[in-house]
């Protein structure tokens, strides 16, 4: 009996979390799938009506914009935040004397609620108030930085603010990873005559594959769920040029009392995530097994 307990202990430790995830994630996804097939408005209803919500969804130009934005924003945000986070982690790893201060400076954006920070960004990026006005004030009349008010460019300002907010955390994640690499190996590489950047690129970073996975999941999660950021910075505007699926869904679910529509958009969002994350996980986890 105790032996049984012992061999199954790891599984039993994992079981509560697993069950919780089954119920609270997969159960709820199933629930959402169900609701997405109904005409739920203010509150969920459960009479299946077919795929009307999906038809409405695909007929909405705003959803098109939101999906396009998701791909632009997601790709840029993940890549830039990852690269920047890694770069900062590496720079900070060079036995910097003021590491504590600098680390906190890079991290603090995470601590601030975007409801307010968005306003600050809005001012900074606003051509009439912020950077453009300031630089022009210095005498560079030709300087222009008006992405925020340009429907074609506004999505990139979201990237700027999102990177600002999250890259510090990615840096922390990578820093922890860097710190777990055995120093002897770095020494060996130094003696082998490997320049520092190659030590990072060829020896340390490859051994942080799992940490990359953490960073990717975190960033992808943020990209998918970016919501306050958009609301606070552009409110989805100009027009709905910076709408994202998350804002679309929120608007449908709570501002417009169109829960069925929100559920269908959530399902599509999750399908997209599934299509991207599953192959990635598959390759990562399989590589670890051999």
């Amino acid at each position: 009996m105790t032996k049984w307990l012992e061999t199954h202990l790891p599984k039993m430790v994992l079981a509560p979390s697993f069950i919780a995830v089954l119920v609270f994630v997969y159960g709820f996804i199933a629930w959402t799938a169900w609701v997405s097939l109904t005409r739920s408005r203010l509150l969920p209803r459960y009479e299946i009506e077919g795929f009307i919500q999906y038809k409405r969804l695909f007929a909405a130009p705003r959803w098109d914009t939101a999906m396009n934005n998701l791909f632009i924003f997601g790709a840029l945000f993940i890549i830039i935040a990852m690269v920047l986070g890694l770069l900062l982690a590496i720079l900070l790893d060079q036995k910097i004397r003021t590491e504590g201060v600098i680390r906190t400076i890079y991290l603090y954006p995470m601590a601030l609620s975007m409801i307010v920070t968005g306003t600050a960004w809005k001012w900074i990026l606003n051509p009439g108030l912020g950077i453009e006005a300031t630089v022009q004030g210095w005498g560079f009349e030709g300087f222009s930085f008006d992405w925020l008010v340009d429907p074609d460019m506004a999505i990139y300002t979201i990237v700027i603010a999102a990177v600002w907010q999250s890259s510090g955390f990615v840096m922390a994640l990578f820093l922890a990873g860097l710190r777990s690499v055995d120093e002897e190996i770095i020494k060996a590489a130094q003696v082998d005559g490997i320049p520092t950047w190659r030590i990072y690129s060829a020896i340390i970073i490859p051994s942080m594959g799992p940490i990359f996975m953490s960073a990717f999941i975190v960033l992808a999660h943020l990209a998918i769920k970016s919501f306050d950021l958009v609301i606070a910075l552009t409110g989805g505007g100009p027009g709905y040029a910076t709408d994202l699926p998350a804002t679309y869904m929120y608007a449908m679910a709570f501002s417009r009392g169109d829960i069925g529509q929100a559920a269908s958009s959530a399902m599509i969002m999750m399908l997209v995530v599934f299509a991207i994350v599953v192959p990635y996980l598959y390759s990562e986890l399989r590589a670890k097994n051999d």
């Binding site: 003696v191 082998d192 060829a202 020896i203």
Partner: protein, 365 residues
Amino acid sequence: MAPILEIQNLYKNYGPVEILKDINIAIEPGDFLVLVGPSGCGKSTLLNCIAGLEPISGGRLMIGGADMTDVSPKDRDIAMVFQSYALYPTMSVAKNITFGMKVRGVDQETQTRKLQEVASQLQIEQLLNRRPGQLSGGQRQRVAMGRALVRDPKLFLFDEPLSNLDAKLRVEMRSEIKKLHQTLGATMVYVTHDQIEAMTLATKIVVLKGGVIQQIGSPSEIYNRPANLFVADFMGSPAMNLIPAKARADGAGARIEIARSSGTPLVLIDEHAPALPEDVILGLRPEDIAEAGFRAGADVQDASCLIDMVEPAGADTYVVSELGGKPVTARLHSETVATPGEMLNLSIDMSKVSYFAPDSGQRLN
């Protein structure tokens, strides 16, 4: 010729603990320096300092005539094998070995050739695609060797590179290293605990103890003329017999008396002995004590001893007897018919005797 490595008054502390004290070493190009010393005496630390992996706390370190104190390891042009291997965990064996070349821009063909060469020297051809995690201890150690051997640096640093290999392989590797040293004229600093390795490879041996150099010299100097009791005791296995004795001037030489359990002291005459204090410690290697009749020479003197213990060990038989209150080991041929409790006539080669001062431990002759 300028020394390729020159260490002047080097000190190294870890926090308050002094690990290396006033180290002075100079190595000429082509030298093969072997560092020996008890575990924890600072050998690896010294290699780390030479490689620039640990900052030194005092003194100077020059490689090829240039001061290296502020030069980073990668610019020192050295290759090193780590005691802990330190393989790159994500790279295959082949990549571990060729990575340094690749970075240095060595062309693909040379890389492949060198890799093949080294892999066959180290007998790891069939492991090239494995990851370090899939290797046995000895295999990892050989990969670590391989990483250094493909290089062509000013200086090789080896930290116990053969400790996890079996005797046969070790002999083969040893001769590969020796070949490398001779054909390339490479300069080496080599840490080992294997005395045969030290003796057969070194052109110069440094004996360290507690971070202080005890003696620097050629293998035969170290073996035959240890500078102090520590070196005498440390080098050679089984260790040199160190026998308290009384010396008295006797003509040109000295008359040495050693207490014996049987009562009458054993008296030996050393015709070449220098002036000695009354109390001395006599150093005598086990192989310099033979069965009477098996060794001939002017300085060979016979002594009849009570045998306490007989230890057959394959090729040899060790016989232990008490002299001067200490167990004294003699190495006899394996055919010896010695029996504990009986007397045996042993012959001692007085030309090989070392004398030490009991208080300072310093060599006297």
